[in-house]
Amino acid sequence: MPVTDITKDAERRTLVITAEFAAPVERVWALYDDPRQLEQVWGPPEYPATFVDHLLSAGSRSTYFMTSPEGERFAGYWDITGVERPVRFTFRDGFATADLTPDPNLPVSENEFAFAPTPTGTRAVYTSTFGSAEALEKVLEMGMEEGARTAIDQIDGFLAGSARPV
């Protein structure tokens, strides 16, 4: 299973997901470098993501939107705060208005994505921190309603992984 550890820190409103991938660090980094690959993994299949701007560089702002099955768009942005290629980057993830302008009234999460080599590939550690319980609640309300679908996603991922020729 790719997810090897999950730590939920209620006090810091932080979720830390550790995953192991059977690909070298450079390959995993390339996924985040390339908006076309990134959008394949960021949103759930029913809410595909489209990255409009994306450059993994400190000070850069990425913008994206997710499209609901009904065609409604939910926009967001990443303010990239630090990049240590290819092992770590940090960014603020927030909501944006329809024209991709950050919405200051909506919560922002602080994120760190870190990648380390292992004998079999890469260990990725994803850390997301929310400023308040209300912020976390809002984020979950607004388009991250993926919960129930995840089991299906996991099976899909597993099948795609095991169906490949060895």
Binding site: P2, V3, I6, K8, A10, E11, R13, L15, I17, A19, F21, A22, A23, R27, V28, L31, Q37, Q40, V41, W42, P44, A124, Y126, S128, S132, A133, L136, E137, V139, L140, M144, E145, E146, G147, A148, R149, T150, D153, Q154, D156, G157, F158, A160, G161, R164
Partner: protein, 95 residues
């Protein structure tokens, strides 16, 4: 709400009152701290909406709000689910 759950004693108090109504006096007797300190923890849990109090004579009776506690846990669970979905997609894309 998260602050209310961040302290070990508070989580312990919450576990007890979720199992059933307890008087604050009975709760205080369980811990190596003053009655006032335990009362303070109870007050934090009450403000966070995780615990409710009612008066019965001279006693204050506390009980846990199962619904509210579930909602904190379920928020982090939902976020975990989002991430599990992402990791599965990354894995599928990489392999």
């Amino acid at each position: 709400m998260f602050h209310a759950l961040s302290d070990r004693t508070r989580r312990d108090i919450l576990r007890r009152v979720l199992a059933g109504e307890h008087s604050v006096t009975a709760l205080a007797a369980r811990y190596q701290m003053s009655f006032a300190a335990v009362q303070k923890h109870v007050a934090v849990l009450e403000r966070a909406g995780l615990l409710t109090k009612r008066r019965s004579g001279r006693e204050q009776l506390a009980s846990g709000d199962v619904q509210a506690v579930r909602s904190v846990a379920s928020m982090l669970d939902e976020l975990e689910a989002v991430w599990r979905g992402r990791v599965a997609r990354i894995d599928a894309l990489l392999t």
